[in-house]
């Protein structure tokens, strides 16, 4: 797809009609989850005009892993990449061969090809300190850094992490050292945080209230500001009572010390915001095929559109497939019952061969997917006779069929959830990433995820033919 989002969306609208036709085609079993538009990540990663990829989405959907896998893939396709992660799981940091990621990009060893992969983890306090140090003379900077109010703000203001992630992104981009920056967004309480926090912190630090707190005399002198002044003294009084006078004094000293750098905050927040809207930026919304995650994803998509942020598409992680998807859950369960029933008859009456009855296929009600009793079974090697052996094989086969039925039920649930998203947002290109049975532990694992992302197919080979 085009890396330039506006034309891409135009095209999308133009193509909607044909997609509608496409999705109406008969179910052929080869592609269960055919999205309206397929997101092709390789052209996006390869395009020299793509300078920033932002991965956003709700918690627990594999956002950080996706960011790392995209970074590795871009690097192995020849680009010089830095991945900025917010809070990687230890395993993920280790998978990039880095035991402790810190606020400085580190080269990841063991990548293939000519490109380079660097990784870093955001240290929000350190980043905040750097901003202060960059904007104030050493003496003033030291005073700010030592202020208890600053320490609380930099360590835990509700939006500090988001703000600092964007600040760091701005810094990395300004250095122009990398072809591509892949950034992972903080695990926000809600989708809004990451877009709102920078502005919020900016307006907070820069706002009326803080000015009131620090410069009451100036305002009090003017006519018409009486109410404000009354409100102010009442408020400082109340806040003082509430928080203890010391805190207020800390805030006032802090604000006074920060005075010179204040303008900087708003300006920087605005610059970062513009950077996110720039053509070189691509947003990827990451989700899993689950109701909550996709609801959150839809919310992101709408929000990004409202903010004119360039959305490249949706990465749908952990999508399940089946190499035998022409065998429905119902048929598989019916077949499993076929195999299990005669076995009970066998044991009771010794009548064999009932199971060969051809009419049993698909005729029964579709039963609940209850798991069979896990009776301990002897291994085939120690079987006494052939009939028992057949029974055991049937038992195994029935188990495989029930497993398949569960897979097919999962598959159709995922499809329904995803279709609901696609119906609401047909313009969004989707890349599906086949589910892995385990977690990622090394570069090979990340590479595998990258392949799955680019492949956009399911993990099992299609049945022969």
């Amino acid at each position: 797809m085009s890396p330039d989002p506006a034309p891409a969306q135009e095209t999308a609208r133009a193509q909607e009609a044909s997609h509608a036709l496409e999705s109406a085609r008969p179910h052929d079993g080869a592609r269960h989850l055919a999205p309206a538009r397929v997101l092709d990540v390789d052209p996006l990663l390869d395009d020299p005009k793509t300078r920033i990829v932002v991965c956003c989405g709700s918690g627990g959907v594999g956002k950080t892993t996706t960011a790392a896998a995209l970074g590795l893939r871009a690097a192995e396709r020849g680009r010089k990449v830095v991945v900025l992660t917010i809070d990687p799981a230890r395993r993920l940091a280790q998978s990039m061969g880095i035991d402790s990621l810190d606020n400085v990009p580190r080269r990841v060893k063991g990548t293939e090809g000519d490109g380079e992969l660097h990784a870093m983890m955001l240290d929000m306090k350190r980043t905040f300190d750097e901003v202060v140090e960059a904007h104030a003379d050493p003496e003033r900077a030291a005073a700010i850094l030592a202020n208890p109010f600053y320490q609380s703000l930099s360590a835990g203001f509700a939006g500090t992490q988001e703000y600092m992630a964007m600040e760091k992104l701005g810094q990395l981009r300004a250095r122009d050292e990398w072809d591509l920056i892949v950034v992972d967004t903080p695990p926000s309480r809600s989708a809004l945080d990451f877009l709102d926090a920078p502005k919020r912190l900016g307006s907070f630090l820069d706002g009326r209230l803080i000015r009131l707190l620090t410069a009451p005399a100036k305002l009090g002198g003017r006519a018409g500001m009486k109410f404000l002044n009354v409100g102010m003294s009442m408020m400082t009084g109340t806040l003082g009572k509430l928080l203890g006078g010391q805190l207020l004094k800390d805030v006032q000293t802090f604000v006074a010390a920060m005075d010179t750098t204040f303008g900087g905050f708003r300006t920087r927040a605005d610059a970062t915001y513009k950077l996110l809207q720039a053509p070189g930026t691509a947003f990827l919304v990451v989700a899993a095929p689950e109701r909550d995650a996709l609801r959150e994803a839809a919310y992101f998509v709408e929000r990004l559109a409202a903010e004119k942020m360039p959305l490249a598409g949706l990465v749908l992680n952990r999508v399940h497939g089946s190499g035998a998807d022409h065998l429905s859950a119902e048929r598989a369960l019916a077949a499993a019952e076929n195999l299990e029933e005669p076995r009970i008859v066998d044991q009771a009456d010794g009548k064999a061969g009932l199971r060969n009855s051809p009419e049993t296929d698909g005729g029964s009600d579709s039963p609940e997917p209850s798991s069979p009793d896990p009776a301990p079974a002897p291994s085939v090697a120690e079987l006494p006779d052939e009939q028992t052996s057949v029974d055991l094989v049937d038992q195994v086969t029935a188990g495989l069929l029930r497993l398949h039925a569960e897979r097919m039920q999962l598959l159709s649930r995922e499809q329904r959830t995803r279709d609901r998203f696609t119906a609401r947002h047909p313009e969004v290109a989707v890349a599906e990433v086949a589910a892995l049975p385990g977690d990622v532990h090394d570069l090979a694992g990340l590479r595998d995820i990258g392949n799955r992302l680019a492949d956009n197919r399911r993990e099992l080979p299609e049945p022969g033919e």
Binding site: S58, G59, G60, V61, D87, R90, R91, P148, F149, S152, L153, G156, F157, G159, P187, R189, S190, F204, L209, M234, M235, T238, L239, K241, L242, L243, G244, Q246, L247, D250, S322, A324, A335, N338, L339, R355, N356, T360, D361, G362, P372, P374, S379, V393, D394, Q395, V396, T397, A398, G399, L401, L403, E406, R407, R413, P437, D439, L460, P463, G464
Partner: protein
């Protein structure tokens, strides 16, 4: 049993769902529980399929057996206004403060302050009594912030100590801490049988214990059905493919010969079994990691049809069966 039940968990593990199911499970005959939301996500309203909750306690469900679940979405700004009203009788001045941005200021400058307000409100509900001296709520269940932030969130004392050394906020923090660190409180962690959430649970418990916060139960959510056990998997590995093809054919799934329908099913079905075996081994490993924590361990099934209101009742019944109420 602890009357304040705090539910945390890694993002994506379904902690809101588990908190709601727990509130339902605890609302046995004649009992009232209050389900509290602190992150402004309206997750409770979505689960109970009702409109967005206001900052007001209201009944949202009747539990099987006649108990009642009430819900409250705490808004920190409104909680602060409440609080000011209670202590300073501010009246209209409170609104003026809000207009000036003072409330926003006070609730956002220091997450510690915000958290004191949120936990303070929950503790107030725990201690509240009616005229006859009976507790208004038998249990308060809190859908708390995720594992990564839970210790900081509950350990308000430490958070506020550096900022407010004296004054009502300081006193409030002290009072809240007395409830949170007592046996009146239990912090439950929700996890999945996957490496990352389990690791985060283990780390979270260590942090909670270090802060002397009372850890309650570990609840494993979305446990997938055990379709094949270890013995079955062993058989899968030993049975010849041709036998499987014959068996599939006997079940009515087509020809067993090479290229026949049944024969072509063997490979993909075995592939799925192999994936299942890998996951099964990983899950067993995670189970044993969780087992070593020495805490009551509960498992809730993955609901085949996804989460809805009926599913919520199903999970509540399951929790009751496992003896949480």
């Amino acid at each position: 049993m602890s009357r304040l039940q705090v539910v945390s968990g890694k993002g994506g593990t379904g902690k809101t769902t588990v908190a709601a199911a727990l509130a339902l499970a605890l609302a046995t005959a004649g009992k009232r529980t209050l389900l509290v939301e602190v992150e402004g996500r309206q997750g409770i309203a979505q689960l109970f399929e009702t409109e967005a909750l206001p900052y007001e306690e209201r009944k949202i469900a009747v539990a099987p057996g006649g108990g009642e679940v009430h819900a409250l979405a705490i808004d920190p700004e409104l909680a602060l206004l409440d609080y000011l009203q209670m202590f300073y009788k501010l009246g209209g001045a409170g609104r003026a403060l809000k207009k000036l941005g003072a409330i926003d200021f006070a609730t956002t400058i220091a997450p510690g302050l915000r958290d004191v307000l949120l936990t303070g409100k929950a503790c107030e509900a725990v201690r509240r009594k009616d005229r006859s001296g009976r507790f208004v709520y038998d249990y308060v269940v809190m859908d708390a912030p995720p594992t990564g932030r839970i210790t900081r969130f509950l350990n308000v004392n430490d958070e506020v100590a550096g900022l407010a050394k004296i004054g009502p906020i300081h006193n409030q923090a002290q009072a809240v801490m007395r409830v949170l660190k007592s046996a009146e409180t239990a912090v439950h962690l929700v996890t999945l049988l996957e490496e990352m959430p389990v690791q985060e649970t283990v780390d979270g418990i260590a942090e909670l214990r270090a802060a002397r916060l009372p850890v309650g139960r570990v609840i494993v959510n979305m446990v997938r059905p055990q379709s094949l056990d270890a013995a079955d998997l062993e058989l899968v590995r030993t049975v010849p493919r041709a036998s499987l093809a014959r068996s599939l054919s006997a079940a009515g799934l087509g020809g067993a010969r090479r290229g026949g329908h049944a024969e072509r099913l063997v490979e993909p079905l075995l592939g799925q079994a192999e994936e299942y075996a890998e996951r099964y081994a990983l899950e067993q490993e995670q189970r044993s990691v969780l087992g070593e924590l020495g805490l009551p361990l509960h498992e809730l099934p993955l609901l085949a049809e996804g989460m809805d209101l009926a599913g919520l009742y199903e999970l509540a019944t399951e929790l009751r069966k496992q003896g949480v109420s």
